[in-house]
């Protein structure tokens, strides 16, 4: 019996040094990132990868050594994902997101955004007009003991005191605003995620949130505090409501893709829409952070109505410009 008869043994002996070299490079890359590889290793990688892949197909047909085959399977899978995997760092990724992806996907979703705004402000207007005509509607929407006494029975003085920071400590309110951020961001993600049930829960959530704010608005309006309350709300609300509307738009994008897939399969359609929508939803989280900062600090420190309006207008202009101003495609 000569050595030659065990072909798989010779096959392995000739190639295993290269397999192990590839393994080493991959392990290093997986642990420390691409930067830790030398130029030499980066050059060797494609060759080693192709060789491992061809070794795998040979091994499948001639070798009976389970360990070799499963090792090569795992090695090739790892190498494949490395060679064809994402190469950007998180930092670069964030820059691309802020500079290009986010405004581009918001711009591409103008129609769903308008639809989302329609639901939200529709709910708002409905609740507002119902409540202004008959304050009993407020209790229908909110139930009893809601909004720490900010209800139709409250006095004008009390309502005014909730708009301006007199009795509150600063810290207490920033905790309050971060609770609100948590809540809002979670609702925004919810609005997005529920979109895939044909967008119906998304529409409902938008209307519901509109109704909540609209009825509260009516309470202040009724007591002649409309101007002051608008300032109180707008300083962070422009950003926050914009974010919620965009989250709704993201939900509608998915819902629309699932409901009307066109020529594609529902699955492919949902997948294509999902990625654009997720970018918008991610952006909503960023906006809600900005809103929470404005709410936690801006609103508490600034008690002048004029300044509040000014900041609100500025944020409105800034977001609109950031999203919708046409920009030149950068050549890269």
């Amino acid at each position: 019996m000569s050595r030659d008869l065990l072909k798989s043994y010779r096959f392995r002996e000739e190639r295993q040094a290269d397999w192990q070299k590839l393994d080493l490079i991959l392990t290093r890359a997986e642990n420390g990132g691409v930067k830790r590889l030398s130029d030499e290793e980066m050059l060797a990688l494609p060759r080693l990868y192709r060789q491992a892949v061809s070794s795998l197909s040979v091994a499948r047909s001639i070798s009976l050594d389970q360990n070799v085959i499963s090792y090569l399977e795992s090695l090739c899978t790892r190498a494949y994902f490395f060679v064809y995997g994402a190469r950007t760092t998180i930092g670069e990724r964030i820059m691309v997101f802020l500079r290009k992806d986010w405004p581009a996907s918001v711009r591409a979703a103008t129609l769903p955004t308008l639809l989302s705004a329609l639901f939200f402000f529709g709910g708002w207007a409905l609740a507002f007009f119902l409540c202004v005509q008959d304050m009993d509607w407020f209790w229908t929407f909110h139930g009893q003991n809601f909004f720490d006494g900010r209800n139709p029975d409250a006095t004008v003085e009390y309502l005014r005191s909730t708009i301006y920071t007199d009795g509150y400590g600063e810290g207490e309110l920033s905790a309050f605003s971060s609770t609100l951020f948590n809540n809002n961001a979670q609702i925004a993600l919810f609005t997005f995620a529920l979109g895939f049930a044909f967008g119906i829960p998304t529409a409902w959530l938008l209307v519901y949130n509109g109704v909540m704010i609209g009825s509260l608005y009516a309470v202040f309006w009724d007591k002649g505090l409309g101007y002051e309350f608008t300032g109180w709300l707008a300083i962070h609300g422009v950003t926050e409501i914009f974010a919620i509307i965009l989250a709704g738009a993201a939900g509608f994008i998915i819902g629309g893709a699932v409901a009307f897939p066109g020529n594609r399969t529902r699955l492919a359609s949902a997948r294509a829409a999902g990625q654009q929508a997720a970018t918008i939803a991610m952006g909503c989280v960023v906006m809600l952070i900005a809103a929470a900062i404005l709410e936690g600090f801006g609103r508490q420190l600034i008690n002048s109505d004029g300044t509040r309006y000014l900041i609100a207008a500025a944020t409105g202009v800034l977001w609109t410009a950031y999203f919708y101003l046409p920009r030149r495609e950068r050549q890269e």
């Binding site: 798989s8 393994d23 009976l64 990724r93 979670q186 997005f192 999902g274 990625q275 997720a278």
Partner: protein, 317 residues
């Protein structure tokens, strides 16, 4: 640990197979069938096929459990740390610290998965522990947008059933909560009912979760016989090497790689009986098994070159 099934009828060459062996064989085939349902062939741009094994729903649940535990550990540890530090704080800065912690909680809840899955290994610690990773379904790059999409959707898959059960516990409308819970469980149990084991998030993001465990290259057992140069001490006849097939070779490989001396001894005994080998003076079980492994592999590979795969010992031609 699989064992070599007991030889059917001693050394009889007749194809009569005992009931027990037949049942075992059938179970083995069924298991192989089940496993092959989880395998997807990925054709690389080089034209080679890589087999991707999808993670089972159980594995994914396990990974998720580990991740949840890690997340809660982080959240609780920072909270306890905060309480500890709070003693030294004034009331106002305490509130600010609590506010920061709340935001931190949000990020741990939502971005824990995203940060890990955007990374080079495309896996959270839980997935890494079980040898899983996220991959794009079309075999292309896993984009950051996909990672965002699949993780934001988690909010309804896990958050929704959770909220409905909370509603059931504290809220008044029990029936509504129950209905909601049932409805939301459709999302939670979604991976069990589709052949690709996808979550709704995977579906939207165009991803799936595959098994990509790191395997170690171990020594070749056949090296022992090859290096001996085929010494005459263990010269097996063709009839003796034809007693078993590929399945038994693989079981023998497992036995040699990872079993106790006691099991090796039993296996060696059984093989000796089956092939009619008389134990020689000074012959150890390990040496016998390794030599037989080498001889069997050589024989099976030879037959394979001629296009003849002997699947197992029942495969008589």
């Amino acid at each position: 640990m699989t064992k070599i099934p007991t030889p059917a009828q001693g050394q009889q060459k007749s194809p009569i197979v005992s009931m027990e062996a037949a049942t075992q064989r059938r179970a083995r085939m069924a298991e192989a069938m089940r496993q092959s349902k989880l395998v997807r062939n990925l054709i690389t741009p080089e034209g080679a096929a890589i087999r991707l094994k999808l993670a089972t729903a159980g594995e994914r649940a396990g990974a998720f459990l580990i991740d949840i535990i890690i997340q809660w550990a982080i959240v609780i540890a920072t909270f306890l740390g905060l309480i500890f530090v709070m003693g030294a704080m004034r009331n106002e800065s305490m509130n600010i610290a609590f506010a920061v912690w709340l935001v931190f909680f949000f990020f741990v809840r939502n971005f824990y998965y995203i940060i890990f899955e955007i990374g080079q290994r495309a896996a959270t610690p839980g997935k890494r522990a079980l040898g899983l990773r996220v991959a794009a379904r079309d075999g292309g790059r896993l984009t950051a947008n996909s990672v965002l999409a699949r993780n934001f959707i988690r909010e309804i898959e896990v958050g929704l059933p959770f909220q409905f059960s909370l509603m059931g516990m504290f809220g008044s409308s029990g029936w509504m909560a129950l209905l909601g819970l049932v409805w939301s469980c459709v999302f939670l149990l979604f991976p069990i009912f589709n052949k690709d084991k996808m979550r709704v998030g995977d579906l939207i993001a165009g991803t799936w979760v595959i098994r990509a465990p790191k395997a170690k290259l171990m020594h070749d057992i056949a090296s022992v016989t090859v290096n001996q140069g085929g010494s005459s001490r263990y010269a097996f006849s063709t009839a003796q090497t034809d007693a078993y097939g590929i399945h038994e070779l693989h079981v023998l490989e497992d036995v040699l790689r990872q079993s106790t001396p006691d099991i090796k001894k039993q296996v060696a005994e059984r093989i000796r009986i089956k092939i009619g080998w008389v134990k020689q003076a000074g012959e150890t079980d390990l040496a016998f098994l390794e030599s037989y492994y080498g001889a069997l592999r050589r024989r099976l590979e030879q037959r394979m070159l001629l296009g003849d795969r002997k699947a197992d010992k029942f495969d008589v031609r």
